[in-house]
Symmetry: D2
């Protein structure tokens, strides 16, 4: 498997120009696209339609190029919110499996993708969702021949509950809060699949509550634009043909910039430049960062997930000298409380 990663700036949620240009210059074959992971410039909360607009535009364009059957297999994960310095963009993951006979395998990036079934409103944020996501992650790993220790990042796009969906037996009646429950159950699904959490220590009551249970590689993002989960698993394999590698670490808090160094240290090879950083952000629910009070939890004008993205985005961007990175908000069961996983994909040195 030959995986490649293209980072493309977007001037608006429906901006296709960068992708069109790569295809026109034959640097990217649209039939190879396995997943598109983007940051769009909406509020990243309930009424963020920039995610759906981006997906709809990309999918429409790709359907016209490669047909519906192939396009429908692509995993589209749009994470809303480019607060502060963050720069809207998409990362396109291609996977080529044919025409590789002549190339030698080497240590490098591999990926697996999967779409789960749709969820009933009552399943969102519950053990039912945890189980389905866990099986999905395992299936995606299998397609990439990946085992748990070699997995460095698992992205899940998951649904939420709007006012229109509301059900008395849903886990919450609050649409913004439903995003947290959906992210939480999805993250615990990843943790279960990877053995970070054991089946018998996990119940519905732990979801959004027992923060000692978490995944160190899960990144989950909720959106109004889907009813199922879409999963992208990334890891290194000895059987790769990719010129990219991936590593990861865990931010202990929102200002833990040393996590960048630790993630770089985890890369299996010498590298020649970072392609993208993928990380999670959360306003520490204790109300404190490094012992100092922050005001994000009590701010009724700006939701705390928005500010958390601005904080982690600025801290990490200032270290890697690039604000075009992927920072997603709300890290329930994704890394320790107040922190979150951080993955780096880099080009291998020639």
């Amino acid at each position: 498997m030959k995986v490649n990663v293209f980072k493309i700036a977007q001037n608006a949620p429906d901006d296709l120009s960068g992708l069109q240009d790569l295809i026109a210059r034959q640097q990217l074959d649209p039939r190879h696209i396995a997943a598109i992971l983007g940051k769009t410039e909406g509020n990243g909360c309930v009424n963020d339609f920039t995610r759906g607009f981006a997906v709809s535009t990309l999918k429409g364009y790709l359907q016209s190029l490669i047909g519906s059957e192939l396009a429908d297999q692509i995993v589209f994960v749009m994470s809303g919110g480019t607060e502060g310095c963050l720069s809207p963009h998409i990362s396109i993951f291609t996977r080529q499996t044919d025409d590789l006979s002549g190339e030698k395998t080497k240590v490098g990036l591999v990926l697996g993708v999967i779409h789960t079934r749709d969820f009933a409103v009552e399943e969102i944020g519950t053990m039912a969702m945890v189980q389905v996501v866990a099986q999905g992650v395992k299936d995606a790993m299998a397609t990439a021949h990946l085992v748990a220790p070699d997995v460095h990042f698992v992205q899940v796009k998951c649904p939420l509950i709007t006012a229109a969906d509301r059900s008395a037996s849903a886990v919450t009646q609050d649409s913004y809060k439903s995003m947290a429950y959906s992210r939480a159950a999805s993250a615990l699904g990843v943790a279960l699949a990877l053995g970070e959490v054991q089946q018998d220590e996990l119940t519905d009551a732990d979801i959004c509550t027992n923060h000692s249970l978490y995944s160190s590689v899960a990144s989950t993002s909720a959106g109004v634009e889907l009813k199922n989960c879409e999963i992208l698993v990334l890891g290194n394999s000895l059987e790769s043909h990719s010129d990219c590698v991936i590593g990861h670490s865990v931010m202990e808090h929102a200002l833990d910039i040393d996590a960048v160094e630790r993630a770089i240290a985890s890369l299996p090879l010498a590298t020649a430049g970072i392609i993208n950083v993928f990380c999670k952000a959360e306003a520490d629910p204790s109300g404190k960062i490094l012992g100092r009070r922050h005001t994000m939890m009590d701010d009724s004008d700006i939701n705390h997930t928005r500010m958390a993205r601005a904080v982690v985005g600025a801290a990490i961007a200032s270290v890697v000298k690039d604000p075009m990175i992927y920072v997603s908000g709300g890290s329930e069961h994704q890394g320790p409380v107040g922190g979150g996983p951080l993955a780096i994909i880099a080009k291998t040195a020639a």
Copy 2:
């Protein structure tokens, strides 16, 4: 002159507990307070009443302790907006001039403060304001026996124009924009006083427009709670008795964390720990940071000064490992476009 600096956390704009405690433990003599420089947790824009609430509470308390005459000489500068990780706090600057005969002078922090006259609405953001601020800065420097090269930070609190104040001959009819004009004219006043800009190269038309003219040490903040300007000048002097020193540098852009190192390098002595960092933040009006598009200028939900504080606050806090720092938004004519001055006050090594 013996200057001391106390950084005190606030749990709310009207929280006096930290100050009361210092006074009760006789670590701070309220009669010595020259200036109080704070970050309060409002939106930092037009309708931010947390600044006024903090000033009113502090002033009322100090009047009851030291009488109105002394309390009215204190400069109160509250800068609104603790977006992201920033932690609400006040820095109290004391200045003791008596009982120092026995102590040897040394290189250290000195300060001067001044209140200007009130401004007419039509003067805000114009050369009239520039001139009055310039004279105020010179007068404050004189009281501290400071010359321009030894000045490292000049904080100005300045007024704005609300809908109620509006005048056809005012520089703008937009209250949020009037904050920028007021900050700009105040900053150019500092630049003029320090010789960073020359009288004959400066006209009304340059204000908020000609960004090649700027001060490297000005920090100006507008608020609805005053009609005049209040000025605090900080520098190092050989005639000081303070155990603190100050240094500064200029951030070239909002993610320029190397400015911290440069400011530390500018300190005149070896030091034993940072007390506080004071810096300015601005969303680059070009719409780009490090060549990447940001979305702050076109965000109609959150004003760009708010996001700029979140960005610079997170970047600098992640380096100094302390989110309780002073970051003020809107850096018109304060450092280069998209950047801003950064000052550090540190304790001298024993």
Copy 3:
């Protein structure tokens, strides 16, 4: 008892000019002030410090005039949020009991006020709070010799739970949501005191859930600026000396402007002009108004209580031709779902 009501515009939360003017012209004796009920221009949510700023300024001023003992007996209720056309103001309720021997009693406004004890964080939003508020309402009614059928409006100011207060055994960990619980328990306390709800049909589980239980005259507002409840009961009595009367009705939904007419019809006398309207607003949690979808519940940029005030404020103001009215957001157990109580105080015809 001679009750009078003064409606005074405020140009800012700390604007005392209107009150100072009335006192200077001897139209209002500050020793007679029983309650001050205001609308301030903050966000009306958790981090709204305009309420505290207004109370602190008013209380400080009145203490200087009438002493702490008298000033501390005044009930201060500041409701944040003047969204849309609403105009910041205070209503001052005076109560004179001396020097009335020569005047004949007539049908008119009477009032009772009370401060409850402080609440523990764990009590907020629970039956413990319901019981204390119910007893407080009964006590306040007793001081006014009011019986339930003659009560037309009961205002309660109640506390909330901030991130700093958070307790694992509190009713919620979400500060914005804690406002709803506190308002709900306070409203059910009123309903219990007035016999609108029976003791044995009420449990902790009903609070914020069983919306068939409600008061038709309760108006409750939460704020960070107090730890207890402050209660103002208003009604008509045959033993009054007031030139004002009060009536009320219930808005069935947020656009139910006919409620104004019904409230006027409920006034016991012919009147000569409305002094103020007091009403509650809520975004219908069903997500629909008059069968049409609204977007307030899923709006992650603006909290639904803010928009609800804008809606009800505009609807009622357009009928009474005055945007200086009291509209408070969040009507849990205050009127039917999506609606709320509406009271009118009018001057009696000469």
Copy 4:
């Protein structure tokens, strides 16, 4: 010409279900669609992509049904912002000209539509735009055989200037403010076409400044999703085959609900129910409504156009008992200062 108007609820900006249903039931022939005028649920300001998402979805769908050539002639006007009670929806205007030989003409609704050329950034908000819009309105009127006195509503969708577009010679550097300039020039174009303003009394300096110049029927709305103007002219004609009629009035201020009655009185026939109300909303720039201070101009958390829509939407909806109406924000040169035009389309009595 037989014009029909369909009001269709939308559950999201990309919800086509209502339209698909009408087409499936053969109540609406997509080849007859002349214009679609909608309210989408974004912020209605610069970074509102719900407008573009709605247009892109509708256009894609209609292109697949009727081909690109026909679909490109449709005028799409999406106005963002359904604050408060407003309910997202589209109004579809169909125009049938064939197969009418057997039907008698009668007084009724007619329409004309036109797309202008694209505007250079430097033209937006200037006399160049005024002239092009004026000519466009005249051309659209001609296609409908309408003369000025019979025109009751002219909707213009116009472009804005984003940070990316910015030009030193543009009328403003502020993207939110560019919306006002674009709306203003478009409205004056309508006024010029209809003779409400004379060519020789109009200069660049009047735009956004001289509010004595205005149109009583213009409704203009800016958006990031187009570079030209799209114009829809509505009026009554004796040569109509429509079962609808239109009337209009002018709201003198944001709470002027009597304007509904005046607009109904202006209808040329007895009617059998309102289909939709179309009106403009503005926060009075004087800072007062009916003599009372409002806080919309100084609110740095919520833009005043958002609150203005909430106010006018609630006031008008409470009278017509339907929150699914078209209220668009920012009424520069559209009606008197603080007010705006209001049009009603009603079904004629059988």
